[in-house]
Point group: C2
Chain length 228, copies 2
């Protein structure tokens, strides 16, 4: 059996669907490699075109601008992650163990998945860690949100919030805790590698440290001590 994972993307994200043509898939594949290499600020369609062996105009036929392309690949990542979370948790009955598994998935370095051919998930994970927030930290968040560009992120957040409520139906902030876990899984990892004074994981650079912190945070919140 040779299943391949197909993620249906929001049509507002592109002008022409990149998954349907060879050039389109090259754009996705190489934009991930290039953004990973030079960072989003220095990433341009011209450089991408040169890398692929096409022209700038060719890329503009697929994406309106580089921000849309970023939102596209970041959204793809969130969708893929939600799928991955589903696969790895749907046979687990205990919501607490589910949540631990999710934290592990969020905070662990991805090994490249074989299921998709034109996306390098490991690079993509590293991109999302550094550039992910730039997808929504803009003046046009509200417009972008109205076009449902952030639906995959919100869906993942909701899915985790549901499990949080399974752990403790009385917990008051399931969504905020969920978005906190997602963001911090990336940020603490970024801090650990780049601004270690902002973490307690010194020069260690071990994903498990971040996982330990997040587990402590989440389960302390979900099963609090009785206080006056």
């Amino acid at each position: 059996m040779n299943l391949s994972l197909q993620i249906k993307m929001n049509e507002k994200l592109f002008l022409r669907n990149p998954e349907e043509t060879d050039l389109g898939r090259q754009i996705i594949l190489n934009s991930i490699v290039l953004i990973h290499k030079v960072g989003f600020e220095l990433f341009t369609f011209k450089k991408l075109a040169e890398k692929i062996g096409t022209t700038e105009a060719g890329i503009y036929r697929y994406f309106e601008n580089k921000h849309r392309l970023l939102v596209y690949i970041v959204s793809w990542y969130w969708s893929w992650l939600e799928y991955k979370v589903m696969v790895h948790t749907n046979n687990i009955s205990s919501p607490e163990i589910k949540l631990k598994k999710i934290i592990e998935i969020l905070a662990t370095q991805v090994k490249d998945d074989v299921q998709t051919k034109h996306v390098d998930e490991q690079l993509l994970h590293e991109i999302v860690r550094m550039e992910g927030a730039k997808a929504y930290l803009t003046r046009h968040v509200t417009d972008d949100n109205k076009q449902r560009l952030f639906k995959p992120y919100k869906d993942l957040c909701t899915a985790i919030a549901v499990i949080i409520l399974e752990c403790n139906p009385k917990y008051k902030f399931p969504r905020s805790l969920s978005s906190t876990i997602i963001e911090m899984a990336h940020y603490q990892n970024f801090f650990m590698r780049n601004l270690p004074a902002l973490t307690d994981f010194g020069g260690i650079k071990d994903d498990r440290k971040v996982i330990a912190f997040l587990e402590d945070l989440v389960f302390a919140s979900l099963f609090p001590a009785k206080r006056k």
Copy 2:
């Protein structure tokens, strides 16, 4: 008594100290207004120059590029915030009440401070909420960090971590919890206003909701229930 707050900035941040000249202070003042208005992406030195009534070249004499200027004003904000935290907590003996006060300061909409004339702290707070992360989410974090550009942020983080340890000397992740509080005070607020599905505060838009969430998160972590 007419005290004015003077924050000593890292000299690597600028080419010429903007606090020492009239034009320099105009640059700081107006860059805050302009970045707040158009967002960092669309902010250019040309627009800033036109607003001030000087030339592009004039601004380049003070700042190497717009990213450095962003780091400058964001750093100023963190220094100012640490000072504010200090002032509002040094007469409090209970570390728990201190921590609550800090959370309140971090998550509450700033009213413009009278202490500084050439900075609008309220606008600056809103800028940091949306653009703050862009100061360090770059390919050159490591270099910037070596030049100590992020010291004010790290100092604030450390100051809060110290108080966290006063609350519970055995808590294992004081710095990570501290950076989590700082980041989430901004992010949950940003989400509440722009992507409310990522929070539990629907259309309410009340800072106190974010404060309640953060307090719950922090104190549950610091005073956990005993679990197997």
